[in-house]
Amino acid sequence: MARITDQDLELLSAYLDGELTAAERSALDARLQREPELRRELDTLRATVGLIRALPPLKAPRDYTLDERLIRPARLWIFPATATFSAISAAAATLLLVLGVITLLTANAPKSAPSAGAPQVAAQPTQQITPTAAAASEMLALSPALTLEAAGAAANDTTSKASATITSTDEEEQAAGGADTLRQAEPGALMLPASPQQPQEAAPSIMMESAALPTGTAEFFFGAEAPAPEGTTLSDAALAQAAQPTLTATPPPTDTATPTLTLTPTTTPTLTPTVTPTPTPAVPAGTSTIGGLMLIGGLVLLGLALATTLARGRRRP
């Protein structure tokens, strides 16, 4: 006696519904003729389906016709209590809370850490490279913007591949001015020494190290304060350029223009007097306030998301 397989069952079930192809149907008819087991299977299946189909039809207990009140989205005061609104509120709340926390944490970080997003952060590596550019000169007082000019000047003066990638626009003419221009840097800006006589092997290692460090740490490295973001003269274009020297400033040590500046006090005895710490820059006024406002806004939105969700639930009969 043949076992009834799942496939047989599917065939029989579809047979009952007239959902077999003509070929399948005639093949099954032939099998039913000679397989009583299959026939019995079909009979019980048909009886089962018959019982299910004979269940009394259900009537809706009431009309589900719609009226304006039903299709108008539920509201909570002036806010639509829709799932979409709740979801958007919740998402915005999350974003604000996270941003708020980050802002607050940044504002309360150790005072030497630069504020988040300050342009100087991106410019830092450039300052380290700058001494490379001003290879032959004495120490320079540089603002971040002028740093680029120095690098540009170096590109003209030396054969440094690193600096050659800088395509400065209006910096070019200033570059001709060279060190004279650079000396007029704003007071309080970072001062960096450049001494070509320093051991060459020291330079690449330091640069790599600085590149890997968070910029905040790089500041520590210099022992200088981050310039306050207010009053910065760094343009977007300058910023974009600032990134370039960072990437290209790893020339082979044999290059004549190889960075010779050593930034660690231990290897550069002259560094200590040349670094002039910036007067403590105020943490950008209102950063804490902004962070606080973000948190409050986030909490309000979170409440709104919850309230609209609850309002939607209440509306249900």
């Binding site: 029989l12 959902e19 089962t48 299910i52 009537k59 589900y64």
Partner: protein, 204 residues
């Protein structure tokens, strides 16, 4: 099994343009089917009532997403989703008493057909119907849905496939498994049933 609505396409068009009364013609035509579907999925009238109303509200708002084909299959798909939402809600807020569970006896089941001849036959039939309903309730959700759509709502395989979002092969296999399970379930309880309702498996 509901007959086709003659001017269904025109009603849908009008409803899409915001004609609520046109949509309500569709509602009246399909509400028994939608409620029955919800009741068979959820197993109690109160939840089915909620889900059915929710389904029509959602359907009206989503008319723009209807892309032709069987309107009933599209509507039943929305109704199924409304039922699953209801099940999720119920899971979050568990039934406070056993009475709320699907298939529980306290649930005032569907009204008996007016044609029940004698009280005794009515009682037997009621017993039988309850047994069938419990066997259907015991199915896996996917199989149950296929069985309900086919044997209670009378949808074609293609409509079931559209409604459940699966292919025809899946419909076939789910349905056949569901029927086999219900058969086994009914055979297990058939000694409770009057002989006339028994499945004739053991006859030789």
């Amino acid at each position: 099994m509901v007959s086709r609505l003659e001017n269904e396409a025109a009603l849908i068009q009008a409803a899409r343009r915001g004609r609520l009364e046109a949509f309500n013609v569709l509602v009246r035509h399909y509400q028994d089917g939608v409620f029955a579907l919800a009741y068979r999925i959820l197993g109690d009238r109160a939840s089915a009532d909620d889900a059915a109303q929710e389904a029509f509200i959602t359907a009206y708002r989503s008319l723009g997403s209807y892309r032709g084909g069987s309107f009933r299959a599209w509507l039943f798909r929305i109704a199924t989703n409304a039922c699953y939402d209801e099940l999720r809600r119920r899971k979050r807020r568990p039934a406070s008493s056993f009475d709320d569970l699907p298939g529980a006896d306290s649930d005032d089941g569907p009204a008996l057909p007016a044609s029940s001849p004698t009280p005794e036959q009515a009682a037997q039939q009621s017993e039988l119907h309850r047994a069938i309903e419990q066997c259907v309730q015991a199915l896996q959700p996917d199989q149950r849905l296929a069985l309900i759509l086919s044997d209670i709502e009378g949808l074609s395989y293609q409509e079931i496939a559209d409604s459940a979002g699966v292919n025809l092969g899946t419909v076939k296999s789910r349905l056949s498994r569901a029927r086999a399970s219900v058969r086994a379930c009914l055979q297990a309880v058939q000694e409770l049933l009057p002989p006339v309702y028994r499945l004739n498996t053991n006859e030789d």
